[in-house]
């Protein structure tokens, strides 16, 4: 890396880190650069990839893309107050498409797949295998079964969490909490790695203090 980009990188890195101390002009400067440059970056990406790459180069083969173009232009109609309400049409289109598309996707991958995966024999490794599961496997299968079931009870809206139902829901929230704990524990690792990468840049690439 050449001197300019290393120094620039270091200047910006330290500027962002200075936010940890407090909000200050250095951070504000970095923030301003970041917002301006990245907004510009995304316009360019949208421009070349979407407008040129997908529309301009694709519309010859697929005239249907004009629909997207028309909907896009309709979005701008809001700048004309008199007919501004037409700009709700593309919005309605997006809401309909997003709802319809994801509804079926979530039904498949989140409900059917997951329910299917929970159906496991408790006492055997697989169906038809006899009593061949070890103690730990039985325990694990039982935990997955009970955890999934009680977790669903927790999300039940139609019944107050009272009595036996409440106890089951409470077991469910216990499992959900363990899930969160596990995610947290696992995540901490990741977060530290990012910082290690930055420090490696400062101490290694910039200052040459470490290998």
């Amino acid at each position: 890396m050449d001197h300019v980009s290393v120094w620039l990188g270091a200047f910006l890195t330290l500027g962002i880190l200075s936010f940890l101390y407090k909000d200050n002009p250095w951070y504000k400067l970095c923030e301003a650069i970041f917002v301006g440059a990245s907004a510009g970056y995304w316009v360019i990406v949208l421009w070349w990839d979407n407008l040129v790459g997908k529309f301009y180069e694709g519309v010859g083969d697929d005239p249907a893309l004009w629909v997207g173009m028309i909907l896009g232009v309709l979005m701008l109609v809001r700048l004309i107050p008199k007919v501004g309400w037409i700009s709700r049409w593309p919005l309605a289109f997006i809401v309909g498409a997003t709802s319809g598309f994801w509804m079926m996707n979530y039904l498949g991958s989140n409900i059917i797949e997951q329910v299917g995966a929970t159906i496991m024999p408790l006492l055997s490794t697989q169906v038809g295998a006899g009593f061949d599961a070890g103690v730990w496997m039985i325990l694990s299968r039982l935990v997955v079964f009970v955890g999934t079931f009680t977790g669903l009870v927790y999300f039940f809206f139609s019944k107050e969490h009272k009595g036996a139902f409440g106890t089951t829901a409470r077991v469910g929230i216990f499992f959900i909490m363990i899930t969160f704990g596990a995610s947290f524990g696992y995540t901490v690792m990741s977060r530290m790695s990012l910082l290690i990468g930055r420090i490696d840049f400062i101490l290694g690439d910039w200052l040459g203090l470490i290998n």
């Binding site: 962002i16 421009w47 309909g96 498409a97 598309f101």
Partner: protein, 224 residues
Amino acid sequence: MRQTIPLFITFFIGILLIIAVFIPPFGELGETFTLFFDIMAVFAFFLGGGNLLRVHINKLRNKKPDWPYSIVTLSGFGLMLAAGLFKINNPGDIAAAVDTAGSLFYFMFHAAMVPLGSTMYSLLAFFVASASYRAFRAKNREATLLLIAAFIILLGRTPFGMYISGWIPDEVSLFQIPNLAVWIMNSPNLAGQRAIMIGIGLGVISMSLRLILGIERSYLGGDK
């Protein structure tokens, strides 16, 4: 009228995409609609980018607090725009990809945006620690379970986990912390994840139906 047409559009498109799943010739409809969405996003950006410009120009004009930073934002925006639109300094001239190595756009991205983005991201390491110190308290049974699980996973991922629990005999090796960490990931964590995922699936279906059927219409604005 002003509400009926959008409601009809939402209904029609929503139902169309649901049915498309079952009709092979419509199989690529979702894909096509994503293309539409991508094209619409470009036009939406005229509004968004316009808004960004307006806010900062206003700040400059009215000399609001911190107005000098608006100059930086606007010039950063302009420079990136020019660099990308005219492919300034692009070794492969106008036909090459905008982010070809050596171009001004590439330089701006790697020398400015990458360090900024990575560092902003890495602030998380600090916040994780401060949240751990302040908020992860065994206040009640739920919080205690969360803590214990987090703790075992954390320990299981460091060599200390092995040192601490190395004495545990191999017959019950599950209780050695690294193994326990794996077990937590594979069993109780899996169960919790599944319950959450199934719940989310149902939540999405129900909300989608409310939107498609027009029961939920707050996003559409009023009749005026």
